[in-house]
Each structure stands twice: as C-alpha cells, then as structure tokens.
Symmetry: D3
C-alpha cells in the first residue's frame, strides 16, 4: 500500500507523573510527539504505511525522537538533521475543574529553522497516496510555511490527496505574518480540511451568513465556494464537562449534506492530548478503507474517543479495537 | 476454626503501570494470582483460615509466588513443587471504551502437568470445612481435571461443603475434551455453584425453558433437579457501562426463592480482575458466618464491589470494611 | 503586605502510591503537612505572605519538613527546634466505596511537647495582619493549648484578625481535658470561625433551637450571642457520593444573613486531604482581597474544589486558577 | 526439624531511594526489620524453621510487618498485638566517604511496652532447638529486658541452646539502668555470644589483660571464666575502607583455640544493614548443620559478605549460594 | 552499505530493579533481547545497516519486541509471526560475590517452533554482506538448527561472510541431539568464529594438543585444519574478580599469529548481559571498516568493555564512543 | 552573619534514571542547578546565609526553580523574572570507561537576555560579605558579562570579598567576543580565583615560564603580578581513573607558598556534577570560618569529595559531615 506522508514539528513532551504540578515534580515522563506525527503513528497502528517528515537537531535528543517514531512503526527515512535544538513542551495533567497546562519552549527549533528547498518533496511524495499537514506548521516560521507550500504544490502536481487540520493557535504566528495572510494559499491546495467555525473566522476570515440555520454548514458552503479543490470539511464538537469528562461528536460536510456521529461520553479521561490528531488519523484511515463518508466519520470519532484512554500523544490502537466502539459497543468488556 | 481449601492454578501477572499499552511499557508490575487462590486470600483477610493447593516449578519464581501467598496469610503447606514452568498472564488495563486486555502464556505450566495421585487429598482435606474449585481447573489439562475430581470425591466422603465457580472459558479446553463431557461429574459433587445462564448452557447444556418468566430461575430449577446435591446457585449481574464504570447485582436461588441484592455502582474501577473471586469469597464467608442466604449474598456483592478498588487480583479487605457497604453505606467517607 | 501567621503541628505524611493498601506497599510517597500549614501554603500561592509557627525535632526530618515549607514559599523563621520526634500519619487512598484510611502516629511529637512561653508571640505577630489556628492544636496537649491561647491573647491585643477552624477530632483530646472545657476561651478570641452544627455541639455545647427552620443559622445565632467578637461563622457542606465523588457547598452566616455558594461536583477526586484547609485559605484570601463576603465565600469553595485535584496536603493553585472556577467555569478546558 | 526462636523489636525501615538525602526524598522505600528477626529470616532461607517473637500495634502497620515476615517464611504465630505504635527507623544510604545515616523513632513502641508475663515462653519454646536474642532488647525498656530474661530462663530449663549478639548501643539504654547492671545476668544464660573487645568492656566491664598477646583472646578467656555456660565467643572484624568498601573476617574462640576465616573484600556495598545479623544466622546454621566450628565460622562470614549485596535488612540467600563463597569462589560468575 | 543479517531467538527479559531478588520484586524492568539481535542492534548504532531474522507470536508481545528492535534501528521486515509464545528469561542482577541469576522460560517458543522452509533465505540474504548466527540457535530445536543450516548454505552460495559465536550452553540441547552431532556441519560454513578452548571441546570435540605452549593456539590450529573455510578464530578472556568487577582481553588467531589486546578493567559493572554480543558486533564492525585484524580486535574489546556500562542486552554506543577507549582512553572524562 | 551573594544562570537539569542512555529513557529526573547557585546552596547547608541572583522566565518552570532554591535554604529575593525561557541541560550518567554526557539547550535563556542595569547591585550587595561569580557567566552573553562587571565594581566599592571560578568553556563564548577580551577586566576585581594552568592560558593568556619547576606556581606568580588585588589562586587536580573512580587534590597559592591537601580517592562516584562548585563553597566557608588557608583548603577538598556521593548538582552536606573527612576519616562508618 502507498504511504501517507505527514509533515510537521515534533517536540519532546515532559510531564510530571500523575496529577503532580510542575513545582512538585522530581521527575518528568518523557515522550515525543507532534500533531502531524501523531496522525502518522496512528495510521501505522491501523496498518497504513506512514512516513513523517520533520527536522531534528543532530544530537542524542533528535535521535531519541527518531527512535520513538520508528518504535511506533513510522518510516523515518525523510527526517532531516541539523539546526539548533529540539522544541519542548511541558505538560501538567489536570483533573475535574483544573485544566491541563502546557508551557511551550519551542522557539528556534531545528524545525522552525527549516528553509525552502531543504526537503526534496519530489522524492518524498513520489510513492505516496496522501499528504497531511496542520495549521501549526505555517504558524511556526516563514521557512516552515514555505516548506509546507512546496509540499502541497508537489502533492497537487502528483495528484496526491491533501488534508489539513487548519487549527488556529493564537500564541504561535510570531514571525511577522498573520494566519489569514499565509493560510489561504495553503488551504487552496487541500482536498479535505478539519476546521471549526472559529478556525474559519480566524484563518480564512469566513463567518456564518447571518441567520443561517446551521453556522457550520454556512461556513462550509462559503469555504467550498472559495476553495473549489475542497471536497470535505470536517469538525469535532467537544463538550467539556470537566477536565476529566468530555463528550465528542463528529461532523462532516461533503458539499451536499451534513453527516453527524453519535456522541461519545468519555470519563475519566486518561490523556486528552492528541485527541484531534487521532480523529484525523481515523478519518484518513476511514476514507481510504471504507470509501463511505459516514463510516469514515464514525470510525474517526470512535478512534478519537479511544485516544483519550491512551497515555502519550499518539493513538496506539488498532482497527480491531476501534471498530466495536464505532459500532456502538463502548462497554469496555474484558475478553479472555 | 477449620480451614477452607482452594485448588487451582496460580499465574504470574505482569501488567504495564497505569494505563500504558504493552508496546509502551518499560516495566511491568508483578504479582501472582489465580481464581481460586484469590478466594483463599480474601477469606484469610476475613479471618477464615485458608490453604491453597497448587503446583509450582521448583525455582525462584515458584518460591516468589508462594511467598506472596504467605504474605497474604495463606497456609502454603500443601503446595507441590515440580514441573516445567509457572504460567503467566499479561494484563493491560483499559479505561472508558477501551477494554482491559489479557495475553495468556500458561501452556505447559507445572499445574497443567499435574497427574492424578500427586496430591494427597485425604491429608489436605482432613481438617477442612470447605473445598472450593472453579471451571478453569478442569479446562487446563486432563490431569488437572482428574485431580479436581479426586478432591471432590474425598470432600464428599468427608462431608465437607464443596463450592465451585463453574465459569466457562472458551479459549481454554484445548486438551481434547469438551467442557460438557468433563464438568457434569464434577458439578454433581457440589453443594453450591456460581453459574450464569450462559455458563449453564455451555457447560451443562441446560437452557431456560421456553417462555419461562425468569431465565435464571428456570435454569436453576433444571440444574437442581439434575444435581440433587446442589443447594444454592448463585450469580452476579454485571452492567458494563464502560471499562471504568460497572454495576453489580447478586442473585441466589436457594431452591425455593430468588434472592437479589441492591445494585452497586462502581466508578472509577481501579482493578476489575478478581471481582468474581471476591464475590465467591464473600459468599463463603457469609454462608459460614451469617447462616442467612440474604446476608451472605449482600456481603458477597459488597465485597466484590470493594474488590474493584483494590490493585491486584485478590480482595485485600476486612469484614469491618465490607459490612458498612453491605449495609448501604458506600459514601467512602474518611474516618480519622 | 503584612503576613498571615498560622500555628499548628506538621506531620510527615506517608502514603502508598496509587490505591495500594498498606500491606502491598514497598514504597511510600512522603510529604509534610498539617491543617494550619496547609492554609499558609495556599495563601503563599495566592500571593499573601505567610509564616507558619510550629516545633520540629532538631534532626534531618525536621529540617526536611522545613525545606518543604520553604519550597512552597512560607516564611519559616519562627519554627522552633527541639523535642523528641516528628509526628507521622500514614494515609491509604481509597476509591469508590472504599474510604481513605489514616493511621496516626503523632503522640509525643515535638509540637505536643510545646510549653507555654516557648514561643515569643509578641515578636511573631508584630508585623502580622491575621492569625489562624484550628481545633486540632488544643486537642494535642495542654502545652499546645496554652501556647494557642497565648497567641490569641497577643493577637487580640495587637488588633490582628483571628480565625479558627474549630473542627472536633474525637480521637485526639487524650491529655485529660475535654474539648468543651478548653475551647470556649479560645473561640472567644476569634473573629471568624469555621464550624459545623456537629462541631458546635461537641465543642461549644450549642445545639439548634428546637423547631428552628435552619439548624446552622440557629446554632450561629447562639454562638454569636455568646462570643460577641465573632463576626462570621462559616461552613462547608460535603456530599459524599463515594470516596471518588463528592459535592461541596459553602455557607457563611455574617450575623444578618446566610450566604450560600453554588454546589461544586468533584469527580474523580485525586486527593481529598486538605480540602477544608484550602477552603479556609480561600476564605482568608477572599476576605482580605474582595472585602465582600459572598465573593470571599465563592472563592473559598472554588479553591477547595480545586484542592481535590492536587496531590498532597496543600492547595498549590494560584488566584488566576481559582477565579474562573469561582465564576462558574469548571470545564477544565486546556488553553495553549 | 525443630524451630529456632528469635526475640526482638521489629521496626519499619524508611529509606530514600538510591543515595538521596532525606531532604531530597519524595518517596521512601519501606520494609520491616530488626536484628533478631533478620536472623530468623535468614535461617528460613537456609531451610531452618524459624519463628520470631515480637509485639506489634494492632493496626494496619503491625499487620503489614507480620505479612512481610510471613512472606519471608517465618512462623508468626507467637507475635503479640497491642500497645501504641510500631517503631520506625529512617535510613539514608551513604557512599564512599559519606556514611549511611540512621534516625531512630522507636520510643514508646509496642515492643518497648512489653511487660513480664505477657509472653508464654513455655509454649513458645516448647518445640524449639535454639533461642536467639541481642543486646538491643534489654536496652529498650525494663519490660523488654525482663521478658528476655524470662525467655532465657525457660530456654535454660528446657536445655535449648541460647545465643546472643550482645552488641552495645550507647544511645539506647535510656530507661534508667546501665548495660552492665542488666546484661551479665542475661549473658550468664547463654551458650554462644557475639562480642567485640569493645562490647565486652562496655557491657561486661571486662578488658584485655595488660600485655596479652591477643586482646580478643584475653577478653574471651576472662568472659568464659566468669560465665561457665558459654562455649563459644565469636566476633567479626570489619575493615572500613569506605562506606562502599569493607572487608570482613570472622573470629571464634572455642575455649581452646582462636579460629579465623579468610578476609572477604566487599565492593561496592549494596546494603550494609543486617550484616551482623546475617553472620549470626550463618553461624547458627553452620553450628546446627556442620557441627564443626571452622566450617560454621566460614559459612557465617561468607553469608555476611553476601548480605552486603542484598537490599533490605535480611539476608535473602540460600545455602547453595553461600557455600561457593564459603569455599573461596567469590567470582560472581553467572551460570546459565 | 549492504546489510548485516543476524538470526536467532529474541526473548522478553524481565528483571527486578536494582539488585532486588525475585522474591522482593513488585515490578520488573522489561526489555527484549537475544544474542544475535544484540549484535545487530550494536551494528545499527555503529552505522552498519542490520536486519534481524526471528519468529514471534502474532500477539501484542511479539509486536512490542519488534517495536523495540525498530526503536534501536533494525530492519524488521524479515520477522515471521506465528507459533505459540515469546520466550522469556528472568534476570536477577548480582553484585560482588553474588552472581547474577537467570531463570529461562523459553521452551515452546515461536522461534523454537521454526520449521525448515519457513524463511525465504534467498530473499533475506539477497542484498546482505554478512550473516551472523550463534550456537544457541541450533541448541533450541531441530527446526531452528535446520533453518540455520539453510541460511549458512545460502550465504555460502552467495559468497556472504558467515560468522558465529559457537558458545556452548549445556542446559539447552534438549531436543535429542548433541552439540557435536549438529554443530560441525554449521561451523564448516563459517569464515569467522568466536570459540573458547572449552567450547571447542564441547562442540567440536577438539582439545589442545598435549604439551602445546598455548592451548588456544593449539585448538585454533586443529579447528582451521578441519574447517578450511575458517579464516579467523576469536575469543575473549574474562577475568571474574567479582560480579561487579571483571577484566576483558581479546584474542584472535588469524591462521598465522595470535593477536591480543590490552586488558580492560571494568568496575563497577552496570549490566554484564550481552558483553559477548557487543564484542562480536565490534569485531564485525572492525573487520568491515578497518580491514586490519588488530584494530578490529581492539575495537571489539573496547566495545565489549563499554557494553558493561549499558543497561539492557544491547550495546547502545557509537563508534565515536568506542574509539577513544580502543585507543587507551578509559578515563571517562566528561566533555562539555 | 552577612550574606554571600552568588550570581549566575540556573538551568533545568534533566537526566535519565540510573545509567540509562537518552534513547532508552521514558522518564527524566528533574532538578535545577548552576555553578554559582550550587556554591550558594552548599554554603546554606554549611550555615552561611546565601542569596542567589539570577533571572528566570515568569512561568511555572521559573517558579519551580525558585522553589527548589528556597527548599535548599537560599534567599531568593533578588531573582528577576522575565525573558523567554529557562535554560536546560540534559545529563546522561556514565560509568567506568563511558563518560557522562551533557547536551546543552541554554541559548536565549532569560539569563542570557540580561541587560546592564537590570539588577540593582547596590541593593543586592548592601549587606553582603562576599560576592562569587564564575567564568561561565561572561561567556553566555554580552549582557551577562556586563551585569557581572557591574556587580564586581559595586562589590569592590563596598569592600566585599570577590571570588571567581574562572573556568573556560570553549563551547560557550558564542556572542562574538573572546574570553581573553572580556575576562581580564573581571578578574582584576577579584580577591580569590580558582584557575587551572589551562584556564590561565585560555582566559588570561598566561603560560608557565619555560623551565619553571612548578607550572601552576609559575602561572600563579604571573597572574598575581598582573592582578594585584588577587590574594589567593586555587586549583584542584582531578585524577580520572574512570568515570566511576576519580582522585582529588587541592592546591592553593597564597603569594608565598603552595599549600596542598592529601589526595582523596572517590569510588564509586554517585554524581560528579558540581564537584568544583562544592570545592568553591568549601573554600569560601573555610576562609570565612577558619581564617587559615590550609584548613580552608582541606575543608574544600573534603567537601568536594563528599559532593561526588550526592545526587544532583549541589552539595547537600553539613559542616559536621565534612569535618571528619577533612581530618582524614573517610571510613564511611555508620554511627547509630
């Protein structure tokens, strides 16, 4: 089967064990993850060959990050080494009314120091079936944004499906450009995007038509009009009852109708990080495998729900584990 | 007080800490347990002297398993040493919609290599008041099944109460015999069994009479007719809301009427393994102590509910801890 | 800003990790806490300078306890060193229907061996704005009770606000005096107390007037009549659904009206110890900062609710974390 | 085989992991041990049935200590429950030039509160072959000293071998009596003692004759003259090169000649606690088994050397592991 | 660069942390390793592409083992899935005079159940430059021995260098054949072997000529005469001062002269497992890279010495780390 | 007593537990340290009041670092908050021939972003007796170098003793200036420096006079001539037998004679980081307390030797622990 290629920054994740606060911690759990790589790892667990493209410093930490990606089954042949440092994020796990807390330390990373032309996208995408990126990458640096644009152009040329989770992170976008100056050109090369109503406003400057019966549909219609390559716009509605208890529903606009999934109830949440990436991976798997939007969407939300039970950034579950949940069995019954 | 004797295989249990998956684990928690030994340990915590009969390899692992049984107060004088290996099971703890997962590695264990005549049941049961076994033992090997039958015969001869949790594990029974070929003779020697409607069908080939108002009662009536020594048939109804949230209700048919307990709500589950064994231990304690079926049943379900809050296979709670729950106080209020 | 001074015993807290029982534990988590010091630590995290007065043995354990208080931002200049030992309490964490369990080993502590005159209260309280004590201190020993009385007298003389959580611990009070013989004189020096209806009966021998429409109000009215310095009586109602799930509501009688907060739903509880101390710290912060009883009470209950998500005795949260919860946002939503 | 009976206090041992100092520790390893019980555990690993007599508080900690003794194979039937608390000692592990450090918190323990007559020594010693005590017990409290004397008298009456490690701990002996007022009567009932030249001076007020060629022999001769029941006096010479590197040599005076062992070189030391107890256990095993003083002494020193490689207080090694070392093979070669 | 192919069983390794004994352990460190795979991992760290051929059960444990091999940089494309179980070995780490201890539980593993023809050696070895096996494989089962012979024949046909560490493990060889019946045919296909004088006797029935000045040389000469394909015979001399302190010297007979390395002093040993495999990997790297026997041997012994400082089975060091040690700098000086 | 003021960067230190390599680690031990702060912490443990001046980011990590300094007894009142990030260093612990390994990630730290004028040195040094800095600070950034110069000038004006460990780190000094351009002006303000012969060459461009009988003395004489304020030049000679075994000797040139200490043998090393800082702290303590150079030097080397047994960066030992070692007792004998 042809590879899915994902592209984006990977950070070292350092988190106090259990529910300890930073000031209490005498040790940190360490793993490595990033929105796009999380998608790739999940796909690898689903049996879809996946390669991640990123840039690491040429030191023991960059190599440790590569080792973990390999551990989880990714092709790491396209990773570049160079630049100054590995980005880091510190994660404190919340509970009940106390939110999890993230401290980013990602400036000047080897990935942010990417320059156009560094990655040979023709070679990377040569045998790929799908290219996935997120709105985080163009927010990191001019070079990362341009590298992403290069990739999309090559993918379009090669007829490879392009997907993006365009999510808007206000605190990134520090290099002098605004999201709405950079993103439209990138979105224009996509076949499928994940976008909330808020993301559409922040990134694409598209807001629901006044009086529209469904804000999401209204926004989707306008986006599709402006970006004709787009075939599907997808979203998850997350109900935040507490840091330990969320609900999740999936939505997909395919140009004609709004598909929706049942709502999954998730309590207690084990690790909420990467829930959206797990959704994306489920969607890609579903669209490749089922070729049926409703099934793909159901699979994606079930996968995302399961991610909340997995420690770390990535969704280490198999298709055989997602399918019962997708079909409504969330009893968690032990089989011997 | 006279001893309760339990008989069955004990395995090393290896589980990733927290909710980690096998592929993430760099260390495993290790303990030792088995359905019947779990009953004995729980009885020891209830103050009932209990001895477990099993067979371990004559190596450091067998001795470590014995040490843990002694730790928890069991008489280990009747344990045999010999044979090739200690059975192992690997347990991954699930949450929410992700079930816990068990990988068994128990073939060719020292216990499975038991042969008739190895255990001197006359000596073991000499000063006992109760003998307990489960449907796992006869499923393991011909020798284990025959040893179990020997024990039941001696117990019957000595007038010792015999109980069994007959539960059916489809993936065992690999040695060439079917459950329904082996089990009836063993059940015939019992005074009390735990059996669901499904177990009765799989093991005893007894199904509810068509149109019967209560399937469990119908099955119980037929079983009792066929096995006149049986005085009580017991069961638990488990409601599986998720891997983290179950409900539990106890049922007991005493030949005349169906007793039932209130339903216990258990969330979040800490460790679900051994819930049925804790129920059995509670029932044995209750029947010995209260000599009142309803109280025994109420105690058994309360004990089982508490087991779900205890790490490991065995229910390390005292009578003083079970009784408030049995009487309806599940407030978990801290007393200083 | 002037300091808040707290006074009371600090114990080493030893707890098996996770939900392990004492007999399973091969290691204990260790921290140091006490009802009054917990208040001071929380205030320090709220930005209020706080000093704790206590007595430790002059050994490595006393110094380790001091180090932890300093770690959490307390002024430890007034701590005395001497006496025989550091009090200890062992804590086993419960879940669902299994309560947490405490084994105290605090007799003959350096604090219990306090003698009147040992602490120079004039110096300690010289630059203070508030003095806080609890009903635990006078229960520990005659010397501790007398030291507390000394402090209250000096505080009254200096015009410093005095608060107390008068809570009654039946198992303390072993030195030959009864709570109701000792406490009234101490309560008479207070401006604000936390007291339940039960505490009022046990400690002050005040019970609700027969037929009074609200028992708490009835008790408050009688207390205020008898102790005219008192301006506010406060309480929390804790709903114990299980050891893992509590609700919390705050009540405050200001002499004229009964203020009440919304009810907070807390599940799953991470660490219930110190919930009342967190409430007290929140109340002190709120009364100092907002100078509005309702806001102070709302802040106090929100702070207490958050404490249940923090490992250890003390509430390591900031004002910026409490305020959203106080204003009704308990969604626990992660902000990046 | 008949039991060896040991008698003495058992404390909870709390130690920071690795080489951490008390002020750095956020968790403590926990185990339970005591000089005499360590002897019994070691004997149990050597296959000699052993029972330990002590007194624990009737709480979860006392029961946890009992569980560990059972775990390691001891008969715990003679343990008494009652009194106020379990003694504790805190141990910080040193290295190189930094000594390990012990903070004792053992005052007012259930054991120290022993009273004469509490233990039915006739019953305890009825089927015993050996009784062992140490100089710690009579140092703890008058009651403990008297209980020990009771035991020795019964043992003498029953013709049971009595051994003692009389070691002098200056910081104990707080109850108003001096070692040399109490110990001689107890030593008079012994068949075998472990004593250094220093112990003999402190406890028995016996010092080497001026100009004697060997101080230890001189002291032994005087002791034996004064205490005619004594048949052997034993000692270990410990060379302290550093906290991580010791040497060990055994000496035994049998009334006629001074036996000596080769010197064992121990580096790096894993856990030095209990080295003397392991020696004592080895000696008892050796004297029972080999009935040859030199072999017994060689076995004892080899056992003690191995103890320094075992974590915790007790020497968890088998005879099969000691014998090669006793015979000069300390290569530590892995056998597969 | 062309791949090195290694072939052999991989076991789960379970070891108590630190120096704990099995009976003390409540958790085990888990990793996966085997003599031949350890060689491959080390080569991957040296920058030599390496693929390991083995057979795992088709379950989560087999996949976890594969993940670790990928983590460490191996090509895992040729691994087969099937059969009953993953072999396990339990390792207790010794110190000083206490040897490390291994309990094997490897019978009936998926690897032992290999049958001739299962592995397509033509495909596996197609692009390889080197094939490595050890004497463990033919000792496991008839099928494993035959698979190994198949591989050697294909390798010989393709002109690929074949190396073997022929080491003799008496406790294996349980399937009815003796080492000397099976091994000669396999050794005949080798270019390079590691063999001690003892191995040569046990496996090849070759003993030093009486009166020969150097036993190893005498044996080498006879072996080379009998197996003309052999070009080099290599060995390490291990001095076992204690379990914590070894010395290491390398020897190589190239048909003409005996090369020898300086002796490396290793204290304290962190993890002795895999020392021989690290030597083999170093030798293969050295022979490929330096094309100079003395340098290759020096590199091999330096690599092996470093392995003793690495936790786990495999030698996770780079060429840049080995070379200083190879050139005599074992100062372990920190460079910043 | 007046404070010692130290000034310098503090980094988060992240290290795999035990001897694990970065690629093996799933968690990191976390602490916070820096060359100058380590001196201050050690002085605090010696009972000398000490304040550290640094700059942290205004986030949870900066506050956690402050908490640890407070924990260890420092005055943290002069710490500034602001700037982008906390510097980090990753430390892998070596053994035997494998050196420990450090990966720095300290660029763009809040400290490196210091600007002249940010710190009010008049206020900081107002009540100080001593100011200490190191050669790391001026190497970090122009702003840090200038801040250091400001401090030295104020200290000189106030007549406060100034000391420096001028050590040269080639890999720092990235901001465009060379060490020998910046350092001389700073050294000119010092009373005491630590410098090796190599440091003198790299930093001060002073080399031993050809043919001088003692290179260190020759260098000292030249330095003192050029920098007349200097009264003492100190150094340690480290013998690197292996990463686990070092020796340590102290040297002090006081203008007239070369003092030297006995050589300390350190094996096995627990944590080598901060050995030089511990020496410096010992020297400052010694010079303040003993007012005798030889005693000060002996104390300093003994303190440094002990540091190698302490986990983390700072030397958590007391004067009572250093003095026996200083007087030649390095037996590590446990006292009870």
């Amino acid at each position: 089967m042809q590879q899915v290629i994902t592209f984006g920054e990977i950070m070292m994740r350092l988190s106090p064990p259990g529910f300890a606060r930073f000031s209490q911690a005498t040790n940190f759990n360490v793993t490595y993850g990033g929105g796009e790589a999380n998608v790739a790892v999940s796909l690898a667990y689903f049996g879809i060959p996946a390669a991640h493209v990123t840039r690491f410093p040429d030191n023991d930490l960059g190599r440790a990050a590569t080792a973990l990606l390999r551990h989880h089954g990714l092709n790491t042949d396209f990773i570049l080494y160079g630049g100054d440092r590995l980005g880091i994020y510190f994660l404190e796990t919340g509970a009940v009314a106390r939110p999890s807390k993230v401290v980013y330390d990602r400036a000047n990373s080897s990935f942010a120091q990417l320059e156009p032309g560094m990655i040979n996208w023709e070679e990377v995408l040569q045998s790929a079936q799908w290219f996935h990126w997120t709105g985080i990458t163009p927010a990191i640096s001019e070079g990362a944004a341009q590298s992403c644009l290069e990739a999309i152009r090559v993918a379009n040329k090669l007829g490879i499906t392009v997907s993006a989770d365009i999510n808007y992170r206000k605190n990134l976008w520090q290099y002098g450009k605004k999201a709405h100056e950079v993103m439209p050109e990138l979105v224009a090369g996509c076949d499928i995007i994940v976008s909330s109503v808020g993301d559409a406003a922040d990134i694409l400057e598209i807001t629901p038509a006044p009086g529209s019966p469904d804000k999401f549909v209204s926004v989707c219609q306008q986006i599709m009009e402006r970006y004709p390559r787009l075939k599907k716009i997808v979203n998850t509605k997350r109900g935040s009852i507490s840091a330990s208890h969320n609900t999740l529903t999936g939505l997909l606009w395919n140009g004609n109708e709004l598909l929706q999934t049942p709502t999954h109830d998730i309590t207690p949440i084990i690790d909420r990080i990467g829930g959206g990436d797990a959704f994306m991976a489920g969607l890609i798997y579903g669209l490749i495998t089922y070729q049926n939007d409703q099934q793909a969407l159901d699979f994606a939300v079930a996968a995302s729900a399961l991610k909340h039970t997995i420690e770390g950034d990535a969704n280490l579950v198999t298709v055989a584990e997602v399918e019962p949940v997708m079909h409504g069995d969330s009893s968690g019954r032990l089989s011997r």
